[in-house]
């Protein structure tokens, strides 16, 4: 009985990672193909941040780090971005979000207001790293650009985190 429980847990974990991978691919496709449809004043949400926070709060900081790295790397490859920029920003996001992970209370964390706060904080860190790297190559002032676009983008991303909670994913996916 104990062994079968262990096996079931391991199988569930494998299944969850498959779901995460599929979700990451779908988000990349959505982010590239459809996100312009929900553009507001040149701002678009970064749904990958939400996924990385979700994985981090579900699986812990260690898993979140790698999830952020891999998700960012996929995003870099799929876009014209310099490889490593999104990977770095998402790794930072995963690392920062990991501090909000509460082992054994994952289910509650994902359904509460703290998830939204975590997404916002993770997004702010992500954008600060990303815009810093992005603006290093240009003459633009980092702080004015970051406060104008970085914070606004974070807020817009957070709105989608609210939607993620409101819609509530199937229990199997939420309770991971």
């Amino acid at each position: 009985m104990y062994l079968s429980n262990e096996k079931r847990k391991a199988k569930d974990k494998q299944l969850r990672y498959v779901y995460y991978s599929i979700a990451a691919l779908l988000i990349v496709i959505f982010q590239i193909t459809f996100v312009s449809l929900i553009e507001v004043g040149g701002l678009t949400p970064n749904l990958m941040i939400i996924l990385v926070v979700w994985i981090t709060l579900s699986e812990g900081q260690f898993a979140g780090l790698f999830a952020g790295f891999i998700a960012g790397l996929i995003f870099d490859v799929a876009t014209f971005d310099l490889i490593g920029t999104n990977a770095l920003a998402q790794t930072v996001n995963g690392f920062v979000s990991g501090f909000f992970h509460k082992p054994g209370k994952e289910d509650l964390t994902l359904k509460r207001f703290s998830f939204i706060i975590t997404v916002f904080i993770g997004s702010v860190f992500h954008n600060s790293v990303y815009f810093f790297l992005y603006l290093k190559l240009s003459e633009l002032d980092f702080f004015s650009f970051f406060f104008k676009y970085g914070i606004a983008t974070s807020l817009y991303t957070t709105v989608f985190a609210v939607l993620a909670i409101l819609f509530k994913l199937p229990k199997k996916e939420v309770n991971i």
Binding site: T33, A78, D81, L82, I83
Partner: protein, 284 residues
């Protein structure tokens, strides 16, 4: 060894974070956005195909931006169209002037109006040519359309022109169709009055009015305008004839000075006659 494993286990997140950061910076340092090759081209191509497949979905934000850009472009183009239209009109006018200059028997000096002044009902303009090119007092000024005025003063590089729309000016004119003569005067407004035309004479709307040979001030046969209205006033022996000048003196900007001065002997004779009449009037 055990302590090392414990340390790694305890700080595995920090160690992994540091390692991943180093990997990211390494990737950034070796990356080159200007060269995208290999599998990335396949992925980007696939993404582009996907974007193309869903491009039929309307994007209100993009449409709004496109509309804004098109409106700005439209404004810019309409401004250019107006400029081009002005250039076409100017070109046509200059061509007319060149043709006219080639066919006119008297020597003409082309000039531009550089200043305008209006004092009560007396209108003057300053042109940018003067004595240095042979302009002198008394020469008539016209356009290809008709009479503009006469030079009343000149310096080396400028000349002052008394316009026809001046209450002091009297122009001896005739009707081309019937050769009937009269005196043109201006008392403000768009039209001139052709005076001294008896009601028994043949004058109709649309008759062309030219300067007559009876004046020494202006050369004869210079087009002046067209009869706009003929009013048969009761209890008067003369018609009230309104003439619309060909030249719009308020918008004219390029003129010709007819290099022909009035006959001095004829002028002197007229002045003497006027003085005699004044003396006779004073005696009476």
């Amino acid at each position: 060894m055990q302590s090392l494993i414990t340390f790694v286990t305890k700080f595995k997140e920090y160690i992994a974070f540091t390692a991943l950061i180093i990997i990211c910076f390494s990737l950034i340092s070796i990356g080159d956005v200007s060269k995208i090759g290999g599998f990335r081209t396949v992925i980007i191509g696939s993404m582009a195909w996907m974007q193309g497949a869903f491009s039929w979905i309307p994007n209100p934000g993009a449409l709004q931006n496109e509309n804004r850009a098109l409106r700005e472009l439209n404004l810019q183009l309409s401004t250019e169209v107006i400029k081009m239209r002005s250039a076409v009109i100017e070109n046509a006018r200059l061509r007319q002037l060149i043709d006219f200059k080639e066919t006119y028997p008297d020597t003409l000096i082309s000039a531009e109006i550089v200043g305008k002044s209006s004092i009560e009902l007396r209108n003057y303009v300053v042109i940018n040519k003067g004595e240095s090119v042979g302009i002198s007092r008394g020469m008539s000024v016209r356009t290809d359309a008709g009479l503009v005025g006469t030079v009343i003063g000149s310096s080396d590089d400028f000349a002052l022109v008394e316009m026809i729309n001046n209450r002091n000016v009297k122009i001896s004119a005739k009707i081309l169709r019937t050769n009937i003569s009269g005196i043109l005067t201006w008392s403000g407004g768009e039209y001139f009055n052709l005076n001294n035309i008896p009601t028994s004479f043949d004058v109709i709307k649309g008759d062309i009015v030219l300067t007559s040979e009876y004046t020494n001030k202006y050369p004869a046969e210079i087009p002046f305008g067209v009869v706009h209205e003929v009013i048969d006033e009761k209890n008067s022996l003369f018609f009230s004839v309104k003439v619309k000048p060909y030249v719009n003196v308020f918008t004219v900007d390029q003129v010709f000075v007819v290099k022909k001065v009035p006959d001095d002997e004829r002028n002197r004779l007229l002045i003497e006659l006027e003085e005699r009449l004044k003396i006779k009037k004073n005696i009476q």
